[in-house]
Amino acid sequence: MTSPAGKPPAAAGVLRGGPRRRRVRTGVPLPLLLPALTGVAFLIVPLVALLVRTPWHSLPAQLTSPDVWQALKLSLICATLATGVSLVIGVPLAWLLARVDFPGRGLVRALVTLPLVLPPVVGGVALLMALGRNGIVGRWLDSWFGITLPFTTAGVVIAEAFVAMPFLVISVEGTLRAADPRYEEAAATLGASRFTAFRRVTLPLIAPGIAAGAVLAWARALGEFGATITFAGNFPGRTQTMPLAVYLALQSDPEAAIALSLVLLAVSIAVLAGLRDRWMRAG
């Protein structure tokens, strides 16, 4: 029921954008317009195909399966927690990269954004090497605190945060660089410590950028597959998120996979549409 509703809003959004940009559109040269619209088609057609091939008759049965809800719930919880983790450590990291001039800053920036280009599966293996039971850090976590992260929900959150945080860091750093650092100076002359200035002035000023970054990170975390299945494994209710469920369902039951994908799509569209205003403002 949610999913058929998911399509018209998207289409309506495209139309709504039309009248406002009409004057601009008439001036768009064909060599730009053609590839741009091909691009739109290229991105939209597969999603439409998913809707066209959806087994609507068996959909209710698929969607009422507790497995689906379990995976969806886990996905939403883990993506949200991963976004939370990214915010807590990613925003200060972005601030550091944008505001503090320290030697090797360029290198640090390159390294922290590396997960953007790393195949997620490799990221998962790297996480195993670091935080696995036998990993260089995980070994101590295990022997000192008895904490092992692979095959746990916490492991899913870590894998998703690892992949998603760079999106947030890049987005927030960009916003910080664009923001006027003199507001921080003004705050300092009013008696605010650097931290107070950050908390009460900078943070509210870059809130739209943080929101945009958080949405990007959340969306990335929600769709995360490779690092999750590699680092956290696949166990229903504990580490099996929607993308894993979709992938494994695809092996034997493509209809179920499509149904699951549809749920994921509907939830993503709902959340992104809900955040659209704030997101747009930041853009």
Partner: protein, 271 residues
Amino acid sequence: MTRTVRRTRRPLQVAAGGAAALLALSACSSSGADSSAKPDSSGPGKLSGEVTVFAAASLKESFTTLGERFEKEHPGTKVTFSFGGSDSLAASITGGAPADVFASASPKTMKIVTDAGDASGTPAAFVRNKLEIATLPGNPHKVSSLKDLAAPDLKVVLCDKEVPCGAAAQKALDASRLKLTPVSYEQDVKAALTKVELKEADAAVVYTTDVRAAGDKVEGVEFPESADAVNDYPIALLKDAPNAEAARAFIALVRSAEGQKVLSGAGFLKP
């Protein structure tokens, strides 16, 4: 209203143009496949051209060897492999991937292809694979049977029930009325084995061939219940095979005494 109609029409036309461009691209690639099939018609006695074989990941080592032998016996031919999970391969074939031969790790996945009418003739089982427990080197947890895997504290990974090795493991567990809660259902047998190789899991139920291929990174433990869950590996010529004749010859090599020797060397059982 009319304004809206006029506005929406233009993007639609252009979208159609974009779709046409995509179609043209795909047309190019299929014509490429056609041209590679042409040498096939040159003469019945002499084999040539490319043979594309889609094979289960567990066949990688042995099929690579057989491919080299085939190319040596039939100069002018080239065997190209695509190894992967049988399910994904089956999905590619039914989706229209240009392949000549499909060697699957389970009759169930082969059935996906035959049901879709993509196989030519009846698939034949050419080897069988048996399950084995892969443990850490030296078997520190003293695992000696399937039952031992149910110990608390022991981190066991199984293949997901959707993939053949997981289905087989489940069959073995059911047959011995064991209930086992693994820490993870891995997406394929290699992933399950990797978790043990990396020492993240203490044990995994995988194929004998995988244990053998992993060398000394894991230690294999055979268990009697595996007899209840032996996997047949079927092989079939595909209906739309671009190079059917060479494909038939490759299947013959796999099923020949010579082929069986290579396969059993990798740990496979005779059918």
